[in-house]
Symmetry: C2
Subunit: 282 residues, 2 copies
Amino acid sequence: MNVYIIGIGLIGGSMSLDIQEKYPEAIIYGIDANETHLEEALQGKLIHKKAILQDVQFADVVIVTIPVHVSVGVITEVLNTINDDTLVIDAGSTKEKICESIATHPKRRNFLASHPIAGTEFSGPKAAVKGLFIGKTIIICEVEKTAFTLQEKALEIFKNLGMRIRYMDSKSHDKHIAYVSHLSHISSFMLGKTVIEKEKNERDIFDLAGSGFASTVRLAKSSPAMWTPIFEQNKANVIETLEEYIANLQEFKNLMLQDNFEGIYQEMENTNHIKKILKGIK
Amino acid sequence: MNVYIIGIGLIGGSMSLDIQEKYPEAIIYGIDANETHLEEALQGKLIHKKAILQDVQFADVVIVTIPVHVSVGVITEVLNTINDDTLVIDAGSTKEKICESIATHPKRRNFLASHPIAGTEFSGPKAAVKGLFIGKTIIICEVEKTAFTLQEKALEIFKNLGMRIRYMDSKSHDKHIAYVSHLSHISSFMLGKTVIEKEKNERDIFDLAGSGFASTVRLAKSSPAMWTPIFEQNKANVIETLEEYIANLQEFKNLMLQDNFEGIYQEMENTNHIKKILKGIK
């Protein structure tokens, strides 16, 4: 099995590690615009060989794990180049724009739109880890538009990587993921900003902050290069979540201004059952 | 050494476990308004014996770890009851109101106002863990108002528990801690609320959410009974942080509305160096 991974970072690199373990016969080719990353990936045994985009004509599987604004063009190029039996998968955090961009492509049936809900706040090939996908959900969008045999091939890979599979249309995916992922990143970045602006002396933050702060601002370490295009592609949904979040914060502030601390208690009590929801999330 | 712990929950219980290890001769007495918690603490060997408030007349050390609005009255009662050599410590997340409340007490010099920056999102005696304070900061306020020999006694205990000691005035403490702790809790609770309101089907949240969401809403599991009085006592500072946080979120939204994604990139890039700050936080 010839696997071509376009974008050897946290996601592409981690997929490669698991594919190598589950498919020892697979040959993994890496394609990356960043020559340093590509060399690191080769040295770190994330890939067996370097390749260029034109080489995907020899691929059995192509996995596209690059920022979503680049994906849109690259997936089209890949579909232009592959043969009839090649499976092309992406892993982007937005699905609507990507699905739209290849909707009428003659090789649409070779593409499976997917989003593994897995990752860390780190990026690049050195961030790749084994077993990243075990027990994680992968959302597959518009599955009916992918050729049946290629669906099967993809599902086998996802299951071998340990993922739970869920199906959604791309519009719903982008709407829901804005709430449970994109908003978390903004809340974290802006929390970090608010504290850094105030605490000009970083030593003070370090001395005063505990694990709670570290947990809520962890995502503020994420890559702006990856996240800016996600917010751009999911603009309308993200703005909606931001408006609701701001309104909730304002309501909390108003309760405080009114000395309505029974209301404050109730706000927290009502959200407390998030314990139950979080229990199953790794 | 007779140690009386008032409020055997996460903090009081964890302190007890470490004190038992470092001071094997210490006898730990537990006082708690919640009889179930007190019984759990006894069964779980967090305390050796149950006691009542009047018993602190026999104490060498009294540790007060109860919600901050109750602390204010209880610390006064404790000071009314103890003998001249007793050390009284609190661990509340607000310091100004507590220090004010005993400012003119004849036994002011027996009290050391402190705040260990340690904890988890859980509460109650079952949440107590060994080694919770290792490598954590403890903020001591108005140290000059505590008798010198009792300062020494307290510092020895804190050092034996593995804590790094920092000094601040109580006003500054409350101002800074609003940024690095209290705001994190509100951002987390309101994020949880925003998502729960939207995703009425909890199964959907569970399927779509990843570790990033779990991390940002972890603090929304915290106890409303503990946090409501903290927000009440630190009202002015907390409102200020909330206003700044909301303004930053609104600015982010405006950049998105203006399609200024270079600005969005910059916002994230500017906050990214939080990596460096977080490195040292456990």
